[in-house]
Amino acid sequence: MTINFGNPDRPNSYIGKTVPRPNAGKLVQGRGRYVDDIVLPRMAHVVFVRSQLAHARIVSIDTEEARAVKGVLRIFTGPDLAEVCTPWVAVLEHLKGLKSPPEHPMAIDRAVWVGEPVVAVVATTRAAAEDAAALVDVDYDPLPVVTDTMTALDTDTPVIHPELGDNLAFRRLHEEGTVDDAMAGAHKVITTRFRTARHTGVTLEPRSILVDWNPAEGQMTAYHATQAPHMMQTVLATHLDIPEGRVRVICGDVGGSYGIKVHVYPDEVATAAIAKIMSRPVKFIADRLESFTTDIHARDHEIEASIAVDAGGKILAIDVDDWTGIGPYSVYPRTSAIEGNQVVNLCGGPYDFANYRARTSVVFQNKTPTCQYRAVGHPIAVAITEGLVDMAAAAIGMDPVEIRRRNMFADDAYPVTSPAKMRFEGLSHHASMDKLMELMDYDALRADQAEARKRGKHRGIGIASFIELTNPSPFMYGIGGARISAQDGCTVRMDPDGSVVALSGVTEQGQGTEAMLSQIVAESVGITPDKVRIITGDTQVTPYGGGTWASRGAGIGGEAALKAGRALRESILEVAAAMLQADQGALDIRDGEIVDADSGVARMPLHELGRIVYFRGDTLPKGLPRELVQTRHYITMDYPFAFTNGVQASYLEVDTDTGVVTLLKHWCVEDCGRIINPQLVDEQIRGGIVQGLGGALFEEIHYDEEGQLLNGSMADYLVPMAAEMPDMIIGHVETPTKESELGAKGAGEAGTAGAPAAVMNAINDALRPLGAQVTEMPFTPERILRALGTITD
């Protein structure tokens, strides 16, 4: 049986429809259950004393005064925890040459970034623990600090980890064709520098973990705001020396993740270690300052890049030299080399060209560690590529849409392999661009821009085509030795009342996983979505899976659910055929009823079948299989990743007196393959766009030369708020992946991938008549005025 997706009136046609999220109702009533909402008997709170220096030897730690604070239970240092917790090394074998030193849950004798945990204070309340933490006296001996990325490898720069030899964590050079020759013979070559600022995720729910250790059962239970419960199960078991089967990770409601909550954080492992030592529940909730200094950062890149084109706008070559500073450690277990690696993989992505060279240099520095954050590497690669393409278009006097049309892979060219050696199964750059032109009425917008210019208003239109990596296979992490599951599973069970419970290894972070799964299970079994109950985020209950990352939930978790639901349907029909003395192939399940497949005539409701199976099984034939529960797992095999594509456009106005950018409107046409729930996809795109707009206009972590983070509060690190954000028009082209029956690819990161480039190009479109150009994000009012030459000192 296959699903006739082309027929919206097919029975049980829930895939492709907007269906409300089953778990949204509780959240609007304040009945969510986030980690901080959970209170366990004898629960203690841990607060961390963190290094206030970016690099220092720990001379001594005096906890005497702190111990005297009422409510304090225990105080731990790094060496205390090292006795029960082994360190980790965040490298992956397939990232050749990646190196990183062992990292402990708390600093042992040296702190290497401002915010690194040094002492843990456990008390009966968070307030008491904070009072005591303020009294812990750590004597530091300052060491030389490395902050600048571009000079980190200079011979006179101190080496942060002398045992590693230098500050280079990872370097990769990819070369395809003959870049230098192509550049030499090109009609135009444009070279420019780009800079993307250090970001962090600013999840509204801070990182949160509550760990209980029950020595009587030898069981650890971690209530964790995480994207990858099974991965965390492995990590806690491995480093705390507990059998994996004796660690249960429960992930209830999570207040925003965006990649921030898929990593292993030293303070969270420390919390588990402390719970094990103290044999009681210990809760750690990061406060907002801790969030800024210890949630992973990302996107701190400096790039020099060139593009060569011929007179007709054909791209001849792209050359990229990317540098990024990742802090003092590669982050476990995904590593901090992936983002730079993605820049190499993704630059030039939409375009059919021959000569490509890209190098990434990933260096250590004394700042907060960086790692994967929504749209890993994409916003950087898209900004480089689309910025270069626009500059090339301007240099030869070509419309930016036209130059893209002349270079994008033809929609019928697939499968193709890109110059970066990425394999594309099927993309729709031209159809997407056509749709975008129609949605935004490009010509009318250009006319409006010209009219505005006559009135002294500087408006700009920016276009950004992009590709997005989704549905990762083990080629992303597993082949490098990480126990990060690329496959995922779903167990589907029918209960006596005819309702279905589906347990999935992918998790809900708010993106709508439960709704998406309920639709797929409903359609594949033949019931209404409200009869499906989804269970996620519990390693003791759900099939083993990878969780939420790299836009994999729908494409991989969804396909597993489809297969499991299909299998359950067959199990149900086998029983029904026996009960009804009918041919199994002549029966179907529709809206919770066994029906004749041809006529649609109802034969028996599922709750009747359930009654017989569970309470009057004696009436069924002996030997009839009656397992109304089925599990299926799914893994992608044909391609390492399912690439998606899309194109965004920004229309904005630049106040050339103040430098303030006003976003007028934004468009995105996106092709994520089969759309399971249009509303959820649209809102993923919108939310993603706004995170990208934050990077384009507002977000930037500042450090001083001593490695002190200067803007670690929500008042100082600016994320988008409602007033400045535009309305966004979203359109779709659907090119389902042929690898799965569902045909779904990911949609969670497309918005973030393309938005910054679209804004950059729009600003530069507005500024071009004034001879100015910006390439350093965020595009603050000041940077715009400096580009204009208005301020120079």
Partner: protein, 166 residues
């Protein structure tokens, strides 16, 4: 410490229409009191310095930052949280509109966002999209990109103007 300053303060207030008497630490903010002492976990502590709006609740008829008001200051106050507003079905239309429009994803900002939205609609029954965006600017949402929230609030304003359920 003098006799007149206390580090624990007795307060008597109304929370979601129910009388509450408690003794609170001098420095405890109202959200911690509601979450830790009253088990009202609907409002969330996120930034704890008044920027993000996740702790927005209603005190004496007005939307306030729960993290910027001490519990001690709530003596005699009439406090409503998302739980109470839900129980008395005061914002059901807003809640339904948020669900229907998917104006929430992770839901962490949502209780505060709803209180802020109701605060706007109670002052301005027909706000423009710009006014909605402006009013909700004190409430961070990192998931939705805000447009769905603006849509939902706009829809409820129109619906109420037509005599729809409030």
């Amino acid at each position: 410490m003098t006799d007149m300053f206390r580090d624990k303060i007795d307060i008597s207030l109304s929370v979601n229409g129910e009388p509450v008497e408690a003794r609170v630490p001098a420095g405890q903010h109202l959200i911690d009191f509601l979450r830790l002492d009253q088990s009202l976990t609907g409002a969330h502590a996120s930034c704890e310095h008044g920027v993000c709006g996740a702790c927005t609740i209603r005190v004496d008829g007005q939307a306030v930052r729960g993290c910027l008001m001490l519990a001690a200051q709530a003596d005699g106050a009439d406090v409503w949280t998302i739980e109470g507003l839900t129980d008395r079905a005061e914002i059901t239309d807003l809640q339904d509109a948020f669900v229907a429009r998917n104006a929430l994803q992770c839901g962490f900002c949502t209780p505060g966002m709803l209180v802020a939205a109701e605060d706007l609609l109670s002052r301005n029954s027909q706000p423009s999209r710009e006014e909605i965006r402006e009013h909700l600017s004190g409430n961070y949402c990192r998931c939705t990109g805000y447009e769905a929230i603006v849509d939902a609030v706009e829809l409820v304003a129109r619906s109420r103007a037509k005599g729809g359920t409030a």
